[in-house]
């Protein structure tokens, strides 16, 4: 019997992705930078670098440090601002048929809402991912993502201000990530993505100074994969919206772990730095696994963890 290719399509809200492999925000630029190695239209979606209302210049260097099987970054959310993003970065993606998810960040609930409004009117954007690991400046600077109520409020505001599918990107630096995920679901999220980076630090023992100008940075890469996988598994059981798994994924095997744990899709972040063709190899590897395991659809795999 000749078999067709397995069906890799997944849905987030009303959005259909041709496959479940996305790039993680901040690790694939605005989709153009990798174009000579990876055709961004081949990916489930490209999640672009976090965008704010105004351009941000980011933190002073050093901004990155390598750690065992991981890296710390304190980029400081450097970005071109929403206006320039729409006028200069979006056209390339739109013209090349890329599924674009825009990651947004702000200092207040209103700022997130304003961004959602602006992006809702820009053609070529397929969904919004809300980075809630940013400090809530008006409320004493604790990150939105550390408090269920703040997470719900941001989600509800973004939901209200746009008609696009809304994904909430969760912080792992919490006691119970499922409570934040449920708050996002309550607020109207169409999906949750996790994890953002774990907070970490490194010190230069010769100068006795922090290795990052910002002192603290976000830990990403293979080192954090077991933590991300655990949180994805817990969250997939706790919410009914799709979960996007992120954290240390570099190979097809890694991605399969997240799908089996209950993620509907995966995002590849630091993996792009280690192997720029990781995304494509992960898509191919998932397809191969489905064929070898006689599965017609990615949905046979998602959440298929055996007791």
């Amino acid at each position: 019997m000749v078999r067709g290719k397995p069906d890799l399509e997944i849905k987030i809200g009303g959005l259909v992705l041709k496959n479940p492999v996305l790039t993680a925000s901040g690790t694939f630029g605005y989709g153009r930078e990798f174009a000579s190695l990876v055709d961004p239209a081949d990916l489930g979606a490209v999640v672009v670098k976090g965008i704010s209302l105004e351009p941000r210049s980011g933190n002073p260097p050093p901004r990155i440090v390598e750690t065992p099987c991981g890296m710390l970054n304190a980029i400081g959310l450097e970005n071109v601002g929403v206006e320039k993003f729409v006028s200069e970065k979006l056209p390339f993606l739109r013209e090349n048929g890329v599924c674009v998810i825009v990651n947004i960040l702000g200092d207040s609930v209103e700022e997130y809402g304003r961004l959602a409004e602006i992006l809702d009117n820009a053609p070529g954007i397929h969904a919004i991912e809300v980075n809630i690991s940013c400090p809530n400046v008006k409320q004493g600077g604790v990150a939105f993502g550390l408090d269920p109520e703040a997470a719900r409020a941001v989600t509800a505001e973004v939901r209200k201000k746009c008609s696009l599918p809304v994904i909430i990107k969760l912080s792992p630096n919490v006691t119970d990530i499922t409570s934040i995920a449920r708050a996002a679901e309550d607020g109207g999220a169409d999906g949750v993505s996790l994890i953002n980076t774990l907070q970490g630090m490194a010190i230069d023992i010769q100068t006795r100074k922090p290795r990052l100008a910002n002192v603290i940075g976000g830990l990403s890469g293979p080192a954090i994969r077991p933590v991300a996988l655990r949180m994805v598994w817990q969250t997939a059981k706790a919410v009914s919206v799709p979960v996007l798994g992120v954290g240390g994924i570099t190979t097809p095997e890694d991605a399969l772990e997240f799908l089996i744990a209950g993620a509907s899709a995966v995002q590849i972040g630091t993996g792009n730095f280690i192997n720029p063709r990781a995304t494509i190899q992960v898509i191919e590897g998932i397809e191969k696994y489905l064929i070898e395991h006689d599965m017609n659809s990615i949905h046979d795999l998602i959440g298929s963890l055996n007791g």
């Binding site: 630029g29 990798f34 000579s36 260097p61 990155i64 991981g70 980029i75 792009n272 280690i274 192997n275």
Partner: protein, 263 residues
């Protein structure tokens, strides 16, 4: 820009802790320009995690090879130095903006330490010597022991190489900017192309600014992606030159006009 699993054709010690690595990488050799770099992953595991940036020391389109000159300073370079011929390494490149070798009356290449690496590929590809009045090569180092083998790497027929060492054991007793002051006659239009440790580049840039010599410098920085997406390789640029505070070594450089850098 290509990503390939490049076979190690040759790996030779050049001096203490310095190695010359020749890789089979036709697609990269074909597209390379002087001053550009490649990202090489030293291991197939994840410790160390990130690929390492290395300038293209030389390349041959005909032979489909690229050559790296590197110094062992840590884990990644240590592992590379122990690799044997036949092993394959993940290489991405060519990356970044190289030297802008447009018009000038005379060119002065200034290098320090392992910073001489990109100068070979550059010197070989300068327009035929008679397009310039002169091509000067000035190199600095701590000692003769350190500098001599590096200077030998720049052994191009017809190219005069002048040397300075901190301890006077080879060439001029002093720093490479001394050589510049001695050699770069004021009656000519000079273009300075420079690569080396940060303090040297700073001194070179300062001298050039004082003398009105246009100057390009090849900078280093910690890098994660090498292709402009992680924004990790930021260097401060002077206010008001349109770069919103930071330039990125991997994408806006590694070679910059000295005036674009906030020293």
């Amino acid at each position: 820009m290509k990503q390939i699993d490049a076979e190690i054709l040759k790996i030779e010690p050049v001096a203490k802790d310095i190695f010359r690595l020749t890789l089979k990488a036709p697609d990269i050799a074909e597209a390379a320009a002087p001053g550009q770099f490649v990202m090489i992953r030293p291991v197939s595991g994840f410790d160390p995690l990130l690929p390492r940036p290395f300038s293209l020391h030389d390349w041959s389109e005909k032979q489909g090879t690229i050559v790296i000159l590197f110094r062992v300073v840590g884990k990644g370079t240590g592992i590379l130095a122990q690799s044997r011929h036949g092993r394959k390494l993940q290489v991405v490149g060519p990356l970044g903006k190289g030297f802008d070798i447009t018009s000038a009356e005379s060119v002065c290449l200034v290098g320090g330490g392992i910073g001489i690496a990109p100068l070979l590929g550059l010197a070989k590809r300068l327009p035929e010597a008679d397009a310039y009045n002169e091509i000067a090569v000035l190199l600095g180092g701590a000692s003769g022991e350190e500098l001599a083998p590096l200077a030998e790497c720049l052994d191009i027929p017809g190219l005069a190489v002048r040397l300075a060492t901190d301890d006077g054991t080879l060439g001029h007793h002093g720093v490479v900017t001394d050589l510049m002051e001695n050699h770069m006659t004021r009656d000519r239009d000079w273009l300075v192309l420079s690569c080396g440790p940060m303090p040297m580049l700073k001194a070179v840039a300062h001298l050039c600014r004082k003398n009105g010599w246009p100057c390009q410098v090849s900078l280093e920085s910690v890098m994660a992606c090498g292709m402009g997406v992680c924004l990790g390789c930021a260097v401060k640029s002077p206010a008001g030159n349109g770069h919103e505070g930071y330039l990125h070594v991997c994408k806006d450089g590694p070679v910059f006009w000295e005036s674009d850098v906030a020293w």
